[in-house]
């Protein structure tokens, strides 16, 4: 840094008659309080140097020299400190101002409407389940809902209301909904100061940061989304917080391993865990910070940085600890609390494996789950499609419509209702007929009871008692799916001849181990039935047979044994020794039985829930009337109708403030365009921005641009239904990007801009300002945004309109499908 100062000292002499106006810079520069790190590091010497450096008229130079010679440098420092305090004051004032405004806009009329709005249906309900401690299932991780539940608990709510339908009344049902709504509202309001602080850290002027923060204060979409019982404001807040903590950490980079360095690094990890704990979308934030970390590490690796490999290793380890292990631990802790709270059986049971369900109090999986003895009559129910494996006397037609030929055997179908034809008698494979299958050696328990239990990996035959025939599959195309094998039943004589084709291997899904001797239990284990000879699994699908099959579902043999629709469980069991779903015991040995069953560990439960969440999330493909595609989001082509009532023509419609959204996306793309142009110019040897500015440009705006892109573009790959509010984190980053781009242009266009060149210390550049025209334009833009906010406020707060015409007037785009219009 020393030689930089030297160079600066020469500076004014070279160009002293070129730049007349320096007061402003002097003021801002001398203050030297916040902003660039270089200043902080150098302390008083730096202040002196900058004072000299920024003074550039002849007289000022003389005055400064005189000052230096005649007065104590301490006095100069004192003056500078005083100015810095004044600046700090304006900065705190601005921060307080935007925070207050943001709370005001979010909390205004928060008790209205006193009805269930949009997805409060879900998230309110989940909070209720927490308070009832009943197990529920949701595609999102638990943190957001835990926070809501905690609020409800503090407010003394007992979870009696289930938020069943949009429009249900809160007051009648005595729900402390205002308290519940205040939680997201607080998170939503805190977004604004975080944005302000982040921009400030990135070197934006107080006025510029205030401008950006105010744009977000007056955005209708952020407000509408924040003041209801929804997760997105929390998600967005934590995402922005992650970015803020990362920026704070990055600014500590010259004081590696100091206390603040560690603090901000671990805070980044915490914030990432919080983000992901609310919604999986937080992974985009993780990716964004992750890329920044990689860039940072890559720079640390550089030999010219002077770090030994050992030191680089320490850097890497510190980041791995704080940004990988710490967040994972915190994320897991949310699930730990989730399982600790939800101990009772509830509506979410059905999403899980029987073993998981058995962990819940009052689960049906805990009653009537006898082990299956051979020669019992049992029914098989498909896990996903809930049909029974069924057969009846009718035959497959000889020739199908498309000309293919069947075996003309007895039909085997999937039937959704209870019926005597669903029962199959479980018979063991007879070793002398089955060839390789060895004689079975009964266990002590079985010898005592004179029974044999069905176990994982057994070869069995399934006898249909109503028609006295055996389940078989063979090399004939099934009626609807020619690539699968036909399933039918055959009489005893044929069954004996084709013995191996009537053999089925029972495989429990929960058992990986081939040699496992686990008993199969009714309603407890999910299983596959794989034909021993043809290696196909009993499969069903939604396809319905033509009238000859009475519209029942097709059952066939599937070569791909891994498909989820091959999964069955044993539902009912008829056996002389099983009464009401429990086995009559010869001897009291219940306790022993209980011991056999292993309880699931926390991690097992976590991984099961996590995988079900991911697959359920991917399964959300059914279109919703207000779902939209990602490409429409930045342009506010469509909103979401949250709630409406004819009375007073009121409605809440999620809609971004177009006066903010449209310039935001333009500004964001301007960054991209300027970046590309700059790189092309540079390639041609024209270097206008100069490395210090370019570095600031890449590390601040570039980082925000990356955040914007990473929170938006991945949605294009999603096949699930998507909504406008998925864009909100991205929108905030685009506003920040745009504000910085505008300030950058303002500075370039302002009178100080001309002085930017290679030798300009970045600190001077940071303190330079756009001219009055720039500030005027920003003021105008802000005015327009506030007006537009006010104009659309009835849709945001659900205030209502005077007439249908008034609603129509608000329909700036025909694609905004406002209600009542």
């Amino acid at each position: 840094m020393a030689d930089e100062t030297l160079r600066n000292r020469k500076g004014p002499k070279v160009k002293h008659d070129k730049s007349p106006k320096v007061d402003k810079i002097q003021k801002s520069e001398a203050a030297g309080k916040s902003g660039s790190d270089s200043e902080k590091e150098n302390g008083p010497a730096r202040v002196v140097a900058t004072v000299i450096e920024t003074v550039s008229t002849e007289s000022d130079v003389n005055a400064a020299k005189a000052n230096l010679q005649n007065t104590n440098p301490a006095k100069i420092i004192k003056d500078a400190k005083a100015r810095a305090q004044r600046r700090a004051w304006s900065y705190h004032l601005a921060l307080a101002f935007v925070t207050l405004l943001s709370f005001a806009t979010r909390v205004y009329r928060i008790s209205e409407p006193a009805q269930v709005v949009f997805d409060e249906v879900h998230f309110g309900k989940f909070a209720s389940y927490y308070l009832r401690r009943q197990y529920y299932f949701d595609v999102h991780p638990p943190l957001g809902k835990l926070l809501l539940a905690a609020t409800g608990w503090l407010a003394g709510y007992d979870g009696h209301f289930l938020f069943d339908k949009i429009g249900n009344d809160y007051v009648e049902n005595n729900v402390p909904y205002v308290a519940l709504r205040l939680t997201p509202a607080t998170a939503g309001a805190l977004i604004i100061p975080t944005v302000f602080l982040t921009l400030k850290e990135m070197g934006m002027s107080v006025a510029g940061a205030t401008f950006a923060a105010l744009l977000l204060v007056f955005d209708n979409a952020l407000i509408a989304q924040s003041r209801l019982i929804l997760l997105d404001s929390m998600l967005t807040f934590f995402a922005i917080l992650s970015v803020y903590t990362w920026v704070k950490f990055y600014k500590q980079r010259h004081r590696a391993f100091s206390a603040p360095w560690w603090f901000w690094l671990s805070m980044t990890g915490v914030a990432l865990a919080l983000t992901t704990g609310v919604k999986m979308v937080g992974l985009f934030t993780v990716a964004c910070i992750g890329i920044a970390v990689l860039f940072d590490l890559w720079e640390l690796l550089d030999i010219r940085r002077g770090l030994s490999m050992r030191q680089v290793g320490r850097h890497f380890a510190a980041r791995a600890l704080c940004l990988i292990f710490l967040p994972i631990a915190i994320y897991l802790s949310f699930f730990y609390i989730h399982f600790a709270v939800l101990i009772n059986s509830g509506p979410g049971d059905a999403f899980h494996t029987p073993a998981f369900q058995a962990e819940l109090k009052g689960s049906s999986m805990n009653v009537g789950t006898p082990a299956i003895p051979y020669h019992a009559n049992i029914t098989f129910k498909n896990r996903d499609l809930k049909v029974y494996l069924h057969s009846h006397v009718d035959k497959y037609p000889l020739r199908y419509e498309d000309g293919r030929i069947s075996s003309e055997g007895q039909q085997v179908t999937g039937y959704p209702h209870r019926d005597a034809n669903n029962f199959w008698t479980l018979l063991p494979a007879e070793p002398e007929l089955a060839g390789s299958h060895a004689e079975y050696e009964p266990t002590d328990e079985e010898k005592r009871k004179n029974l044999r239990y069905l176990k994982h990996g057994d070869h069995v035959r399934l006898h249909h008692p109503k028609t006295d025939s055996y389940l078989i599959t063979h090399d004939v195309a099934s009626p609807l799916t020619p690539t699968h094998m036909e399933m039918t039943t055959v009489k005893e004589d044929v069954a004996l001849k084709r013995y191996n084709e009537t053999l089925w291997k029972v495989l429990l899904l929960e058992e990986d181990d081939e040699t496992s001797q686990a008993k199969v239990r009714a309603r407890r284990g999910h299983l596959k039935l794989v034909n021993v000879h043809h290696k196909v699994a009993v499969h069903t699908h939604k396809g319905v047979l033509p009238p000859w099959g009475f519209g029942q579902q097709e059952i066939n043999g599937n070569k791909n044994t891994k498909e989820p629709k091959n999964i069955w469980f044993i539902d009912e069991v008829q056996h002389p020794r099983i009464v009401n779903g429990t086995e009559i015991e010869d001897e009291p040995e219940k306790k022993e039985e209980k011991k056999d069953e292993k309880r699931l560990s926390f991690l097992q439960k976590f991984f099961e829930l996590q995988s079900v969440m991911i697959s359920a999330n991917a399964g959300l493909v059914k279109p919703h009337p207000y779902s939209s595609t990602p490409i429409t989001w930045p342009f506010v082509l469509r909103g979401i109708s949250f709630w409406e009532t004819k009375e007073g023509l009121r409605q809440i419609y999620l809609l971004g403030n177009p006066i903010i959204w449209w310039p935001a996306i333009v500004g964001t793309f301007m960054y991209l365009a300027m970046w590309v142009l700059d790189r092309i110019f540079l390639r041609r040897g024209v270097d206008d921005f100069r490395p210090p500015v370019r570095r600031w440009w890449d590390r601040s705006i570039g980082f925000l641009f990356l955040a914007w892109a990473l929170h938006w573009l991945p949605f294009f790959l999603f096949e699930r239904k998507l909504f406008l509010h998925h864009y909100l984190p991205s929108f905030i980053f685009s506003v920040m990007t745009a504000a910085l781009v505008f300030e950058f242009i303002g500075r370039i266009a302002g009178e100080d801009g001309a002085k930017v060149d290679f030798r300009t210390p970045i600190a001077v550049w940071m303190k330079s300002q756009g001219g009055p025209i720039y500030w005027g334009l920003l003021g105008l833009a802000l005015g327009a945004a506030v007006w537009s906010f006010y104009y659309f406020a009835p849709l945001t707060y659900g205030l209502g309109f005077e007439s249908v015409e008034a609603i129509r007037a608000h329909k700036w785009l025909t694609s905004w499908d406002l209600q009542h219009a």
Binding site: L301, D302, V476, A477, H484, P625, P691, I762
Partner: protein
Amino acid sequence: MDMDNLRQRKPRVGDADAQFPLNADDELKDAVPRIVYRPAKPADGTNIYIAVLLTILALVVRLYKITNPAEVVFDEVHFGGFASKYINGKFFMDVHPPLGKLLIAASGVFAGFDGSFDFKGIGSDYLGPKVPYVAMRFFPGLFGVLLVPIAFLTMKNLGYSKPSAILAALLVTFENGLVTQSRLILLDSFLVFFTGLTAMMWSEFLTYQDDPFSLGWFNSLALTGVALGLTLSVKWVGLFLVALIGLSTIQNLWKLLGDTRNSLTTIARHFIVRAICLIVIPMAVYMAMFQVHFWALPNSGSGSSFMSPEFQATLKGNEIAATIKQVGYGSKVYFRHEATNGGYLHSHKSTYPGGSKQQQMTCYPFRGFIDEFLADENSGFTLLPPLEVINGTIIETNVTEFKRIKHGDIIRLEHAVTNKRLHSHDIRAPVTDNENHYEASGYGAAGFTGDTNDHWRIEQLEFDYKNPWIDAIHTPIRLVHVNLGCKLFSHSVKLPEWGFGQQEVTCAKNGKKRLTTWRIEYNENPWLDAKAEKVNYQRPSFLKKFIEIHQTMWRINAGLTSSHPFDSRPDSWPTLKRGISFWTSKKGGGQIYLIGNPVIWYSATLSLLVYVAFEAVSAALVKRGIKVTTTGYIAQASQGGWFLFLGWFLHYIPFFLMARQLFLHHYFPALYFSILLFCAIFDTATRRLGTATQSLAALFVAAAAVWMFYEFSPLTYGTVMTKEHCKRLKWRSRWDFDCNRIGRKVKSSVSQVVSGVTGGAHGGGASPVAEAVPAGGAVAPVENPDET
């Protein structure tokens, strides 16, 4: 000047990070002696002899026993079938562009195939119907053969040594998968050939970098464009190749841009020539293929029903007679449903068994002959004016003169035969049981005036205030139910037997726009005589047809989501997890099973990892100030390696984004690039040893590959092998060729659909929907009516 000096000054190294040069790599590159990337030009006279020798070898390897089996194998079902359709000129729809199929058809014509064989199922006999299948297989086989010299020349162009280039060609020759795929009537050998050709031409172009705008420079660039167009015309996978050449071009231009000796005009010239050669030429080639496609298929066929009425009217056998333009009250009209090709709005004496039990409204495609358009009277409807209420009594307005109908007019539609009127009410639709669909029925009688639920507002699809009239044929219309606000709707959902399997018609709220669109295709009016102005469908221009066929292809392609027993996901390809059973002899003979040569396949996959590791380590070393890898032939190899790696990457990764069914053979273009990459790495690793040792090493690798090829060749050629041999080949349990079947006869004929041979047949192969769906005639892809 002082200032200028400062501007030019290099930032000092070792300062704080504030003083870093912008791009550390650039800086370093300047520091080391610059390696000029100038690969050897293929001017070496021996190259051509080597190429010829390699071609002859490949001819032997790839065409050996091409007559076996004399039965339809796997997707020959589709592509052979398409050849028949080309020969008969019957319009069909397929998800792939036409070039590959045109080439197959051309070979069929050349060999005297008359198009009478329909390639119905795997295992159908060729010899009986005298299909010149050998010639038709020979043609794709030839393209497969020519890939071999191309691999050799590409490697030479990229600057690799001769032994390595020969090795590349040999590995391509002895890759079982590529051999299997190229000796059958399939598209992939064309695709891989053209992909290789493009890469070769582009690598040729890269050797002319020091001699821009020379003849060779122009030639190679233009030929790259032509080859690119041809690749794209075989399969859309060619788009990945476009991305590869595009990125490589950008890299190429970026290099030119960085050389400040090039003036901006020169760079502009460079840019324009590339734009013409790599954008305009491929587009032209691609479109020309479609023009040929349209010429070759003048007749209506199985694919007609996928197309719009305008398109269909261009096909022989589907023409529609001109009809009177102006529609007025009293007109008798036929409404055609636009999107589904379900036919015309139709009614008949039968009633709905449930709901209101009123008369059925359906869509029915039967149209009769062109001259006797009205063969099916039951689709005729008369346009009546709305009822009027005067002093509480309902009066039917009397039409006494021609009154033209315009957008927004309220009408009633009376079924001409039964005198029932098109009606809707708050009762759920017969089949589609959801709240958005109301029943559309026929109600009323000749004397009975009916009620306001008969009232429909006729609207133009896009209201044109300058021309608000409803015209026959030219105006797409919607019928909006006045009381319910729903729109007359149909979709490809069939009514049960009581509705004779005709298409369901409902009145839908939030129905998809295209499913609520109708068109008046026939119109007669008592006040207009035969001399009145007539209209017919406008013949769509080539461009319109081109765009429409692409929309349709896209839709069908996206709809290929059903599963196939042998489909696979991309993550299983590089490790060769499983193959595809193409064919199994019914007489207990051989079987054809698509599987790669494990030696080649796994080395190619390994080379990808080696390449990535090498580049990563090298970048880290450079960052730590160690520059061993930025000099000499390693730097050069790294450049060629980058192109090949990018080629593999772009031909592989995008498949992860595709939800449609995928097969192992989709990996072949990527495999080709990775084989070349393996040889590039081989070259880099062995070049130090000198030509003789390197040749020896190459020979060793090639020998291993040939031996493995020989082991697996029975599965490739479909020849008989012993059970022991077969079991020996089962390296992995998922390689499910059937060893037990050897020497056993298969009993029933249906069984082969299910057994190991399950190939194309129904729902199989790469393009099943196109074939399976329209076969019955008027069936369009299923629409989801719930989507708004």
